[in-house]
């Protein structure tokens, strides 16, 4: 029974990554970076697995200690991974259905709490 459960869970979890590559909405900025051959994240699978830990650690550093560097900043993620609407300069909300966060989060059924408070699109000209 245990082995069956392990097999089943592994298949379910891996299936996320299988699908994640195919229908993945990467984001306007990230897409153009990828097509020009550059990489931002050294390891996508590491980011996929560890982004909650990275972001939680960073948010405590930023909020409680005032460290406002770029690494693992949520608005940094949003600025690359949000997608523009067709033929306009407006962005889809990053947590909307079919957008960047949802393509994985809907499959693993884990709700994203961030964007109740955080801005869902990059801020143009905003500092």
């Amino acid at each position: 029974m245990n082995r069956f459960m392990v097999l089943l869970l592994s298949l379910m979890v891996t299936s996320v990554f299988v699908h994640a590559n195919s229908e993945h909405t990467l984001g306007t900025q990230a897409d153009s970076m990828k097509s020009s051959g550059k990489t931002y994240h050294q390891s996508s699978s590491m980011i996929r697995k560890m982004h909650p830990e990275f972001m939680n650690h960073k948010r405590d550093k930023t909020l409680r200690q005032g460290v406002r560097t770029e690494e693992y900043s949520l608005k940094g993620c949003v600025s690359c991974h949000a997608s523009k609407k067709d033929q306009s300069n407006d962005y889809h909300a990053i947590d909307a259905s079919e957008q960047f966060c949802s393509t994985c989060h809907q499959k693993v059924a884990i709700s994203v709490d961030c964007f109740g408070c955080h801005r869902t699109t990059p801020a143009e000209g905003d500092k």
């Binding site: 900025q29 409680r64 005032g66 690359c80």
Partner: protein
């Protein structure tokens, strides 16, 4: 993680360059991280403000309120009524009953050294940074509003409805408590709070209370000033002269 510091620095340098190049190429301004400090803030500084009610006019104060709203994105909550709307800073008109003298002042979070809101928060969401700025960690806030009961200055607001189109640097959300942050996102980059910039005169001075060379420190030594509700012994960072 300590052993990986070198690799991290390398990644940071290369990715910052690539990201910057890509951003310029696509025509979008990425959020800037210029001058971002990597080191935690310390208690070597204590940020404070001095409000001179003798020099501050009513339109100055209205300008402070508007600037705060624009900078931090509050004030246009459409579903909330009257007292439910957020109010990070407000204009107070006060009359001395004995002399009939009227003063106008701006009242916001006083960033106390002994904040009652921090004492009573059950989850440590209400917190004081090392440099004295009092904040709400909205990741931890459960929305119990006890800090609002405890605040002697009516400084805090509860978010009564869904919020959208937040400012990138000021997340705000339904069900959590918020208040004046002394524009900590600007202060951390060497700037000043939006309300202080809006007045742009000696009527409101912002600076490091502990720095003996700072304008605020020297002014506080020279002119009479007071804390609101000084009897509570909270040692507020915001001081007022002329009341």
């Amino acid at each position: 993680m300590d052993s990986k510091i070198n690799r991290r620095d390398f990644i940071k340098a290369t990715t910052a360059t690539t990201a910057g190049v890509a951003a310029l190429g696509a025509g979008i301004t990425l959020t800037t991280y210029v001058n971002a400090n990597e080191n935690p803030v310390t208690n070597e500084k204590r940020w404070g403000m001095l409000v001179d009610t003798n020099r501050l006019t009513e339109s100055d104060i209205d300008g402070m309120v508007t600037a705060c709203q624009k900078e931090n994105g509050w004030g246009n909550e459409t579903h909330s009524t009257g007292d439910q709307k957020a109010s990070w800073i407000k204009k107070i008109k006060v009359k001395d009953t004995a002399t009939q003298r009227i003063s106008n002042l701006a009242l916001m979070c006083q960033h106390c050294e002994e904040p009652p809101c921090v004492d009573v928060c059950p989850t440590n969401a209400s917190m004081k940074r090392e440099d004295g700025i009092v904040l709400v960690d909205k990741h931890r806030c459960i929305g119990c509003r006890y800090c609002m009961m405890a605040c002697p200055y009516d400084a805090r607001s509860f978010v009564h409805e869904d919020i959208t189109n937040q400012k990138e640097h000021m997340p705000r959300g339904k069900g959590t408590v918020e208040s004046c942050t002394m524009c900590v996102h600007k202060v951390d980059k060497g700037g000043q709070p939006a309300c202080v910039e809006a007045v742009n005169s000696d009527a409101v001075i912002f600076g490091d209370l502990l720095d003996v060379t700072s304008n605020i420190h020297q002014t506080l030594k020279r002119v009479q000033s007071t804390q609101i509700r000084a009897d509570l012994n909270l040692n507020t960072a915001v001081r007022y002269s002329g009341i």
